[in-house]
Amino acid sequence: MATCTASELMTVHAARLLRDGDVVFVGVGLPNLACNLARRTHAPNLVMIYEAGVIGARPARLPLSIGDPTLVTRATSVCSMYDIFTLYLQRGNVDVGFLGGAQIDRFCNINATVIGDYDHPKVRLPGSGGSMEIAGWANRCYIMTPHQKRRFPEKVDFATSAGFLNGRAQREAAGVRGGGPQAVVTNLGFMEPDENGELVLTALHPGVTVEEVKTNTGWDLKVAGNLRITEPPTEDELRLLRELDPQRIYLS
């Protein structure tokens, strides 16, 4: 089994979740690497779109910001931000969104706004950016994040983006078009929402124990009956991935 870093492990597993032909709303960093890895392996027809208004990017170098000019040169299309959020995302043309935040809770709601009270916060985070709408309207959403207790509280201080609110029925009542989060990929394994929208442990990476995951999760994490052990990254996947970030800016 090839050795790899936590970032590499998460990125390879996120890449595998993508399907050929998926239209993916991408950010910089690991999601960008996961998409490019998927394009070079099982999903050559993956279409990457960026909130800056870039569609079908073919970056020749590692993009260092969400508006890197290498995303534009050789792209299929460039449109305004308003068009990206209306014609693409709100209209239902986006299959997959990647989400991230400082906190993700039991029902997979995400906080990227504040730690503490909104008006008098302990920490003011960057804010929603595109994620409020991506979480609502992309067909499927995935989250990649290190598995740490402070990142997984029972309830987020502020729900910037909707997972399943207090349960799947509540999300459905809001009538949003997207299917919501499908999986949280961490360095320990996978958590996926159950029929009620609650995140449960569904897979462990090789060598990880259930106890280890529970210790690093802020609520009493349920474990799926059919708990899987994940397939480790292949040599090929790691080689291709490392070629995408040769200076290990994101893979460190």
Binding site: D20, I55, A75, Q90, R91
Partner: protein
């Protein structure tokens, strides 16, 4: 899966057969420019019935489709023969009640498409003080602006079953460059459930990717891509050929009697297999008359990043 497997290239005949069904709402887009006449003619040849024909400016193509018995309803904002006068066939069908209709202003019509394209249930518009059309068409409604307490006028999203969009060039997956008058091409493509793209030229992906800001329609809203040069005659394609104003005038005469309309349809629609045959039949004098000397845009440098 190989990238080439994503090609959507097919004949216009196949594209219409697969994507336009009896009873569909069709939006054959274009504001004077890029009107997909070839697609309208193919729909006539395939004998589609009970279509709802939506479009800001029905133009001759809908007049011809109504004459051929394809339509049960029109949705429009201006029924005229642009630059000439009346659309005799649609007008008469409306006056005698043979054709259902829904009428908007241009902005109302385009706002319906914008809502449809945006995935929104409606679009707001400021009041114009003219309320008669609002009263005549119950699709117009009002909503109170929660900031000022004043009312705005709203129209509901239009999401046609199929949009037909003619473009200057696209790749075989359906990424399309359009220039010149844009009308509602982009909005119709995003609003529709299916999109048939007809193109003057099918070009390698690299041409499209050399100028991404020119790409108004992306592959993943496109169902079929058809290579149909001269698709828009007697309308035009900017940079490719001129508008045939003479034919717009001629139609005003042809459409004076049902007999001459049917004779025209017989000769120019039923009597030809496809657009190639139609274009050849027009003859070299017409080709010459509609040809246009080139005039190129200033270079644009995207940079080799």
């Amino acid at each position: 899966m190989k990238e080439s497997s994503m090609s959507k290239l097919c004949s216009l005949k196949e594209a219409i057969a697969q994507n336009v069904h009896d009873g569909d709402c069709v939006y054959a887009a274009g504001f004077t420019h890029l009107i997909p006449f070839a697609a309208g003619h193919e729909i006539i040849r395939q004998g589609r019935k009970d279509l709802t024909l939506a479009r800001a400016t029905p133009d001759l193509i809908y007049d011809q489709m109504v004459a051929a018995g394809c339509a049960k309803k029109v949705i429009y904002s201006y029924i005229g023969n642009p630059g000439v006068g009346s659309l005799r066939i649609i007008r008469s069908a409306l006056e005698t009640g043979r054709l259902e209709f829904e009428e908007y202003s241009h902005f109302g019509m385009i706002s319906r498409l914008q809502a449809g394209a945006s995935g929104l249930p409606f679009m707001p518009m400021n009041q114009t003080a003219a309320t008669d059309l609002e009263r005549a068409n119950p699709q117009y409604k009002r909503v109170t602006d929660p900031y000022s307490g004043r009312e705005v006028v709203v129209v509901p999203a239009l999401t046609p079953d199929v949009a037909i969009i003619h473009v200057q060039r696209c790749d075989e997956r359906g990424n399309a460059h359009i220039w010149g008058i844009l009308g509602e091409q982009k909005e119709a493509a995003f609003a529709a459930k299916r999109v048939i793209l007809t193109a003057e030229e099918i070009v390698p992906e690299e041409i499209i990717r050399s100028d991404p800001n020119r790409t108004l329609i992306p592959e993943f809203v496109v169902s079929a891509v058809c290579h149909v040069p001269y698709c828009s005659h007697p309308s035009y394609t900017q940079g490719y050929y001129d508008r045939d104003n003479a034919f717009y005038l001629e139609w005003d005469k042809i459409s004076e009697t049902p007999e001459s309309v049917q004779a025209w349809l017989q000769e120019w629609v039923y009597g030809v297999a496809d657009r190639d045959e139609y274009w050849q039949k027009l003859g070299s004098e017409t080709h010459q008359r509609l040809s246009v000397p080139p005039l190129y845009a200033a270079p644009v440098n995207y940079g080799e990043y």
